[in-house]
Point group: D2
Chain length 380, copies 4
């Protein structure tokens, strides 16, 4: 069997998760090529070397450009801070290699669409890590909606809220750098937007309210720096298919650790999915006897897409990293032609980014904004 | 001990609940006067007579004006369809009697403020039935916020969603009559607005999106009639104290039976309250050891306001009608001077109605609306 | 319409609950006679008078025997400490009046069976307050089991655990008096036994382990007194119909306030009911598609027995006192012949008590015990 | 860095899970040696070859004895059907290699103790896969109990119930072979016994009731075969430290997929842990203000043992296979001397098996049984 040699740039939160995922992918899915941890790059050789040993990479380097150019690297996987995505992606596209980048792809839709166009022109397959789409229960939600079983979608309330920035003493980091794009709405909002698009469809218009509640943060160097990006955001949204709803994002949602959730109301049923309990989906379908009418609590089981590759027994639970493993297995299947592409490509990531940009624009302008308009202005 | 003779108009859902509440109130709270079910009025003598017997009223009548004029009636309690509230309230005010009216008080803020002014001019005590404010755990939420324990309020996500109008075959009723005011946003939205105001404070500005998903309904007479009021609504809201958030209302939220809920995010803690499990409040407070950090699930107990009058044991649970009983006991305490007024008066109800009107106006105008402006235009 | 004049003895936790229930019953059920709060007795005239005023009784007395003898009293309702049940019941039976007594009926099965025989001989209708049987969802559980929908019952795990005696500083009370019978197994265990019998059927044999974890308690008088009754108990049980399972009772279950719950496993489905969330029943039925297989969360609605008399809307929730109201309405319906008897009579209470006694006997003897044998020995 | 070459026997449910775990262990924990998937054995070369490719093993074989003898294999990992554990373990012990075997170790305590003695005599390190002990929240429960924070343990209610044998049409498999040992009580009961021992301590005496509800099953060959092992079991248990409680096991618990759970009641607090939601622990501690008294819902976070190696963010959730990964990392740490042994060795597994045997003996004899006695009779 052939190998797919992975070149990973970055060894932080996402770097570790990607490394674990690439290693596990071959054991949980029948793949036509085996992902191999070939080369890891990080800011310097020492950091890279240490991480490579831990993650099981064959080689390491302190020079990411060398990684991109390395003839033994078949696919480049970018997990660096957001601000570095664009230059790195451009180098990979120039090298003509398949490219997998963590979300958010770029600081704004203009850059994201440009990257998408460049990749398309170069014929480079692209993938962006909106991993929650790969939860088997997300796939189930999508299938139920598309089957028509719960009728027309009337409302979608989506949210991604965590609290890692609640503490005003938490440090100013690269996530707060406005050059890297928006704040919570980019970091977390992009996840719930990706889910909304995947399950319901494109958002056409929106009206948002965005604010920053912690005005400045201490810096690692000892001073203080003003926060220029958003801490929390909410938007009224209208989908192209007529559904309406709301989208919310916050990284100051005190007490919430992984509240990525939606409730989708249809004319004949409803779905609740909450990644705080990512192995459970709640489904309501009209037409049951009133005596035993109620929501069905569906646990994740081998009957759901991709679960069986991990565990043959129902209800035994997948974890966060397993979802990432499913994502990379999908990438492999796409590359080998074993399946159509499910993981968002750069164009889809740019559409998500245009929705993020529209939220910021609406918040600034104080009114409804056309997401299509924003996307077109950004060079879609 | 003196009696407080109750005159009740209406014997439907709310009429029954009020009757039960008045009867139980004396046994669950030490009151200085005892509510007595004196006289019940309904559309005709037969309906009224039957209901009076069932509810335990001493007398009944088919003539509500006679009830208002009856010298033995000390307080008039209005539980008729919304559209009748204003004329009945006016008659009671004219009669100078304490007045308790179900929500929503009036079809619009103009009428509500007019009623408030008239009652104030006449010196008539007024009360409006926003019963969920009386859940002991609502009071607890308010106390926690006001104590400063969870810091500054950053976000409030409030919703009242039920599904009693999901079925397109459900009949056109008086709730759909535009003369009676708005749809879901008046019937259910007013509840969550009242909670938002009670726990956080007044809403200053908002931007809303409102729609009707079932375009027409069958009528009792056999034809079909277009639906002119809203089925679902969502609004971005900004509170006077700087908090932001969202308000949502729907009577087509398929699967939901009593989803009146909010999550309030503060800088030092958060609160979740959901009337689907009305005997539980979730509280998060920062500063715990990371090892045992988490949300506290607080069950309703005798340590919470009003619970002990019903049950001396913790966690044994109050029901929907018990909350109504607490409401009428509060009314009695206000009338006897035993306590300050907690139940919203007509002025507070008019402010709530102005928020409802602002939602409709914003949805029509497509932009942000000042609730103050709406209230002033309505003759606040 | 005729009145049913109630004579209530006792005005504590249960006295209050009964008073509320009698008052509300006429408004929540169509009854052929109206319960009337005629006479309240307590330990002295002052206590009785104060409670009577609060609860709305027409008259009061410090002499319970006078109440029993009072010609205006149609039914006597006994809510005094357990140890007083037997002498009071005997007096009521002698007076030939319908008799409603709180559980547990007697300190042991011998006394309970004797009371049952005496009442039967006198032709006196009897009722014992196992109120949780009246939760509409208990009735639903029973109906589902009896319908055969979930097949043969294989296992029943039942528990009633609270923590009101966890604190070793909580006072020695009449509940701890061995003359009044057992401890937690009588006070709480009798509830779960009554549920087990109602939903599954009689328990034939059992083997138990019982212990006392707080060896002595402070007394009101300032000293300390050893605890001679059980704090917690568990039993293996075998039902007459072949089902097996466990029964558990504890009043030292730290953290639990109202954990009366069971999980019933059948060959074709299962049921979970937990009075901590008394308005929810979980039902699992085999045969669903594996893709949407799961437990159904059924909220209490008007489709369930007795709910509609309280609230016409689904999911709005009944409370603890509402269940008591259903119980007294059932008693009225039985007395007027409007319905067959559902509330346990003294004979059923004696059978429950025999099961309690069997638990104690087994714990003492250290082996399996026949409940039938215990009942026969007790003069069944 | 040195490698630890793994030889795995068996590629079913557990084989897959172990392979994933060995691969991931190096990336989630800093280990002094790196586990390497050296050799996989299964019933024949073809099966082994296919699995080896999927799991990423370097080599494969159809001859498990060759695997044991292979000089390149440093540790042998046995995941075959139970009945094969003993002969395979004996061969590994004879080869003097570290040995990791899935639970249950043996069909009875006699065999298990013999294996333990043989391994000890040979100086072979042994490990048995009671993986749920490695859930970071199990470790937290143990720490809380051992810290004394919740006082003396008064009661432990433990259960492991699933429903994979509920369907009477499900096939007769090796799990039902009485030569392999008991049924549900061995397969699932051993898990909850291991948890009980880990968190509370040894069980001293017990009294059990065990039954088989599906009397015969279809065989793969087309006939039917009687079921001779238990489907469900419950036991009263007494711990050596004075705590009491119950243990339950069932593989016919209709509707349950992974109900491995316990509630531990202490004199100053309580703990609930349920592997259906394996990332959540509920903790109650006495002494809070009655106003905000309640259970704390603790999500799994980096503050808990081993979680941080997988995910730096709290509440993002571990899955079933992650717990196995923690188990194998513990084995590596024990072998390198980096940490003391936490994973049960053969002696601990034999003690667990003695408890299983005691349940069966008690069920047969119909009375209380000394677990110590059973262990001694089995040659402890």
């Amino acid at each position: 069997m052939n190998r797919l040699n992975i070149g990973l740039i970055g060894s932080g939160f996402m770097g570790r998760s990607h490394a674990l995922a690439w290693r596990a992918s071959g054991s949980t899915s029948p793949l036509d090529v085996t992902p191999h941890l070939e080369l890891l790059a990080d800011v310097d050789a020492a950091t890279a070397g240490k991480a490579a040993a831990g993650f099981g990479f064959a080689r390491s380097t302190g020079d990411w450009e060398a990684l991109v150019a390395d003839p033994a690297v078949d696919l480049v996987d970018v997990t660096t801070p957001n601000i570095l995505h664009a230059p790195m992606c451009r180098a990979v596209i120039a090298a003509g290699k398949p490219l997998y980048c963590e979300k958010p792809l770029a600081p704004d839709a203009r850059t994201a669409f440009a990257l998408a166009r460049e990749a398309e022109a170069a014929g480079v397959p692209t993938f962006v890590g909106f991993n929650y789409l790969r939860n088997p229960l997300t796939e189930l939600a999508r299938e139920i909606v598309q089957s028509g079983e719960i009728g027309e979608v009337w409302n979608f309330r989506g949210i991604h809220a965590e609290d890692y920035m609640t503490d005003p003493k938490s440090l100013w980091t690269w996530r707060l750098d406005p050059k890297g794009g928006a704040g919570a709405v980019a970091d977390l909002g992009s996840h719930i937007i990706s889910l909304a698009r995947y399950v319901v469809g494109p958002i056409e218009r929106l009206c948002a309210d965005v604010d920053t509640v912690v005005a400045e943060r201490p810096t690692r160097e000892g001073g203080r720096r003003p926060v220029e990006v958003d801490d929390q955001a909410r938007a009224l949204v209208r989908f192209a298919n007529g559904a309406k709803g709301t989208i919310e994002a916050s990284w100051v949602a005190t007490g919430r650790k992984m509240y990525l959730a939606f409730e989708l109301v249809g004319s004949k049923g409803s779905i609740c999915l909450n990644m705080e309990r990512m192995n459970e989906l709640k489904l309501y379908v009209t037409g049951r006897s009133p005596v035993t009418d109620g929501w069905i609590e569906i646990p994740s089981t081998p009957a759901h897409k991709d679960y069986a590759g991990f565990i043959p027994a129902p209800g035994h639970q997948l974890g966060f990293n397993d979802i990432k493993t499913i994502e990379v297995a999908e990438i492999v299947r796409t590359l080998t032609g074993a399946a159509g592409q499910r993981v968002p490509d750069f164009r889809e990531a740019a559409e998500i980014q245009a929705t993020v940009d529209a939220i910021l624009l609406s918040a600034k302008s104080g009114g409804w904004v056309s997401v299509d308009g924003v996307a077109k202005d950004a060079g879609r």
